[in-house]
């Protein structure tokens, strides 16, 4: 097993070290920071390399002296110990020289940092909200928004299916931005602290509940750029990827039009009465994307950590208490308030589903209009 995995790796290492810039997917990531696709990301890469080489040179000098000493100044070679133990001149030199080197590093670093923090004059603003465990992207100027959820199938994570190329770094709906445009992101969170980051854009910023952080980017080349949540945010922290698709301005305009049409079409009649079957079918879907991560697909939960819904007092008790928890969450736990995240019909469907799936069989259901009243 191990040997089988290591052989391609060794050959890649050999090939890779000879042809470091080879066009394989491996060389794209591999050993070093990506250069990325923005002016800033390239500046950051250059800074990284500058400091790296300064460290290498200092390291070579210090370790060189040390190694020389280790090989030559040993008792077995008859070395007699000198007894010197201070020199003010030397001490001053090796205090002042590092300070000068540090100043040389600080100047370009400061310049780049000032540029990175200049969020003025953005053409588009997109609000990014972290949720346990998905992202939401709201296009503030165009009045639409959507959730972006991991699309890697469960079977791949559980090793019952082969892993795809973008395992854990693929989503159902990526964030789409135009190239050649200064895009400003407003980053916040709905529950705990997350961090939104894409190495190719040299962006990483914490998403903090109650606070809004700003970053910006200006992507030059169309393409798909991937990252993931980079601040521990609970159980599925490893499963909330970030995928950014940079399109040409024309393609972007087209895409925005489609999204706006989609948003209009999904406006629903608030007074429509749903049948139990309709609610169950929709509820199963909503449950799978929003609830199954903790309460599990079979409603059995994770003992001790996440309560079971199957046969639970709440899911089989009074419907008002049940919908109250789904709508408003439970303080001090990972149970979020879903009133803000889901529509009336989605809430009605998922509550109905939880009350009738897995042998819960309460036989009752709740209508979107009732959810609306309970909000």
């Amino acid at each position: 097993m191990l040997v089988r995995k290591l052989i391609p790796w060794l050959s890649r290492l050999l090939g890779g070290s000879l042809l470091l810039a080879a066009n394989s997917a491996y060389a794209e990531y591999g050993l070093n920071l990506p250069q990325g696709v923005t002016e800033i990301s390239r500046e950051v890469y250059d800074l990284h390399m500058l400091i790296f080489w300064i460290c290498v040179v200092i390291g070579a000098v210090v370790f060189g002296v040390m190694l020389y000493s280790i090989f030559h100044h040993r008792k077995s070679k008859g070395a007699k110990a000198a007894q010197f133990h201070e020199s003010t001149t030397v001490e001053i030199i090796w205090t002042v020289v590092p300070i000068l080197i540090l100043v040389a590093m600080a100047i370009p670093a400061t310049k780049t940092l000032l540029k990175m923090e200049d969020v003025a004059n953005a053409d588009i603003t997109i609000k990014i909200t972290g949720y346990q465990w998905k992202w939401r992207y709201d296009y503030l100027d165009q009045n639409f928004g959507f959730y972006s959820v991991l699309s890697t199938p469960r079977e791949q994570i559980e090793n019952t299916a082969d892993k795809s190329e973008h395992y854990l770094r693929e989503v159902d709906r990526p964030l789409v931005v135009p190239v050649g445009t200064k895009v400003r992101f407003l980053i916040t969170s709905n529950d705990v602290i997350h961090a939104w980051g894409v190495p190719d854009l040299a962006i990483k910023k914490d998403a903090i509940p109650g606070f809004i952080n700003e970053v910006w980017t200006l992507i030059e080349t169309p393409g798909t750029y991937r990252g993931q949540c980079v601040e521990l945010c609970g159980k599925d922290h490893g499963y909330m990827p970030v995928v950014v698709e940079a399109k040409s301005i024309e393609d972007y305009q087209l895409w925005v039009g489609e999204q706006q049409a989609l948003a209009l079409a999904s406006t629903e009649d608030p007074d429509k009465v749903w049948t139990a079957d309709e609610l169950m079918a929709k509820g199963e879907q909503v449950y799978a994307t929003n609830c199954a991560a903790c309460h599990m697909a079979g409603g059995e939960g994770v003992p001790g950590a996440f309560p079971a819904l199957k046969g639970s007092k709440i899911a089989t008790g009074p419907i008002a208490d049940h919908s109250n928890i789904v709508l408003h969450g439970k303080a001090g736990t990972a149970m979020a308030a879903f009133a803000a995240q889901l529509s009336d019909s989605e809430l009605a469907a998922v509550i109905t589903y939880e009350r009738n799936a897995w042998g819960n069989n309460t036989g009752d259901s709740i209508q979107p209009s009732q959810v609306k009243a309970a909000r």
């Binding site: 790796w9 050993l31 100044h73 400061t110 973008h166 109650g210 952080n213 980079v230 001790g304």
Partner: protein, 524 residues
């Protein structure tokens, strides 16, 4: 004969068996307790690391679920920092400070007993959370709210365990300070103190200054969770980022609490085996003090991505870069001490030299992390994991191992097995680099820390890292074997033990008498 009888009577006065250890006020007994406790915690924390590395051997979920994985990363850090490294240093201080300054014992022996015996209970509470419904804390050792507030039943146990560890540390630190100020032998001026004593004196002040801050911040978490306060809840007018500021105001000096005594140890060992006095003694003292001072004003570099104002980012960047200067002075001094020496490479020296090499590598990555715009790329990735394991494992823990090999002949009167010691060193030194060096690449390629599963391009380096981890973990069983073998017997050690050793502790017999110096030695 009469002296023998009084001697026996004196010993009858003392309880034996378990009561001896429970009631002991002797600095050597307490030092031994600390060190053995630390060894136990090192293996418990290590076992957790093995689970982490086993899960990360391949992408996909194989061994544990994500929630348990998070419990392991959280508990691994808490156990290693508060259970393994800190008690090991307090144990070393207990054993060595009185012997090095020519005192009979620590200044506050009863408090000394108390400060040790709090620890087993604190860790019993902490480790018990693993068996509670909902499991152990899983929000990371940094306890960031709001995530840490989602902890279940384990939460109050975690907070009270931290309170108890803090009390223990503060008492230990006060004891060190009082001992050093009041019990130095005549002629032992401050600038004649061995560097281990100096670095511990400064560490003790860091502990006294920061542990109460940690206690305060976790107490605020406790009231946020159970008494509806909103210190860190934006919806109630609080600020989740404020917790991070308070935490890292403790957390960054804590980093130096974990490394300054290691600097002291290495500054004792290198001159001995180079048979040459330490280069730049006074600059070493001043450098340690400068590092300690700077440690209080750089906490913001742990939080560059929280969205600080640009002035804050620049200040923390410059201040952090400055730490490289006194740290560089230390490294240059160690190298100059070796230069033109007459070196031999027994196990303690091997660990000390490896410390200088590998700690410096950790220092370089630290310097890179200080550069704010690039830190945005490194932050919360495996690059950070590699960095702090280089300074904590090949830094702090290598120094502790060097110290054990260096002083165990003095403590027990027996020489350790040099062949096994060297074998232990070489296996550890190679495997630890196989373990942590590839993590630099993983971090640069963008792998976040604290994830149980990863994208496929990270597979190879994770696999290598895990193999290094297993070898490193297993090779520490050798360390335990060598230590217990030495306690049980071995070639008798001389009083001076090492040809080039200087200092008061080497003037005492090996093993030293129960009350180190009953009459104060004269220091010239």
């Amino acid at each position: 004969m009469s002296t023998a009888t009084t001697h026996d009577a004196h010993h009858e006065h003392q309880p034996s068996g378990i009561m001896r250890w429970l009631t002991t006020t002797n600095h050597k007994d307490i030092g031994t307790l600390y060190l053995l406790f630390s060894l136990l915690m090192f293996f418990i924390g290590g076992a957790m690391a093995m689970i982490i590395r086993a899960e990360l051997f391949q992408p996909g979920l194989q061994m544990v679920n994500p929630d348990f994985f998070n419990q392991m990363t959280t508990m691994h850090a808490l156990v290693m920092i508060f259970g393994a490294v800190m008690p090991a240093f307090v144990g070393l201080a207990n054993w060595l400070v009185p012997m090095m300054i020519g005192a009979p014992d620590m200044a506050l022996p009863r408090m000394n007993n108390w400060s040790f015996w709090i620890l087993p209970f604190a860790f019993l509470m902490l480790l018990a959370t693993l068996f509670m419904p909902g499991g152990a804390p899983a929000g990371g050792w940094t306890l960031y709210p709001p995530l840490s507030l989602q902890t279940g039943m384990a939460f109050p146990f975690l907070i009270f365990a931290i309170h108890m560890m803090g009390m223990s540390s503060i008492m230990g630190a006060i004891n060190v300070v009082v001992t050093i100020f009041n019990m130095r032998a005549p002629g032992m001026t401050f600038m004649k103190m061995p560097l281990f004593v100096w670095t511990w004196l400064i560490t003790a002040y860091l502990l006294i200054a920061t542990m109460p801050v940690l206690a305060g911040s976790v107490t605020m978490l406790l009231t946020d969770k159970f008494f509806n306060t909103s210190f860190f809840n934006a919806a109630g007018g609080g600020d989740p980022v404020m917790f991070q500021h308070i935490f890292w105001f403790f957390g960054h000096p804590e980093v130096y609490i974990l490394i300054l005594p290691a600097f002291g140890i290495v500054s004792q060992i290198i001159p001995t085996f180079a048979r040459k006095p330490l280069f730049g003694y006074s600059s070493m003292v001043y450098a340690t003090a400068s590092i300690a001072f700077l440690s209080f004003i750089v906490w913001g570099h742990h939080m560059f991505t929280v969205g600080m104002p640009i002035k804050g980012e620049l200040f923390y960047m410059y201040a952090t870069m400055l730490i490289a200067v006194p740290t560089g002075v230390k490294v240059f001094n160690w190298v100059s001490t070796m230069w033109k020496g007459s070196m031999t490479f027994e196990t303690p020296m091997l660990f000390a030299v490896a410390f200088v090499f590998l700690f410096t590598i950790g220092g370089f990555s630290g310097l890179m992390l200080a550069i704010t715009p690039v830190d945005f790329q490194y932050q919360e990735t495996y690059f950070v994991v590699a960095h702090f394991h280089y300074v904590l494992v090949t830094g702090a823990i290598f120094a502790i191992m060097a110290a054990v090999y260096y002083w165990i002949p003095k403590w027990t009167g027996n020489m350790y097995d040099e062949k096994l010691g060297k074998l232990h060193f070489w296996i550890s030194c190679i495997s630890v680099n196989v373990l942590f060096f590839p993590q630099h690449f993983l971090g640069l390629a963008g792998m976040p820390r604290r994830i149980p599963d990863y994208a496929v391009q990270f597979t190879e380096f994770n696999m290598i890292s895990s193999i290094g981890g297993f070898v490193f973990g297993l090779s520490q069983l050798m360390f335990a074997y060598i230590v217990f073998k030495t306690i049980r017997g071995g070639a008798k050690a001389t009083d001076q033990v090492w040809e080039g050793a200087h200092g008061l502790e080497w003037t005492l017999p090996s093993p030293p008498p129960y009350h180190s110096f009953t009459t104060a030695p004269e220091v010239k």
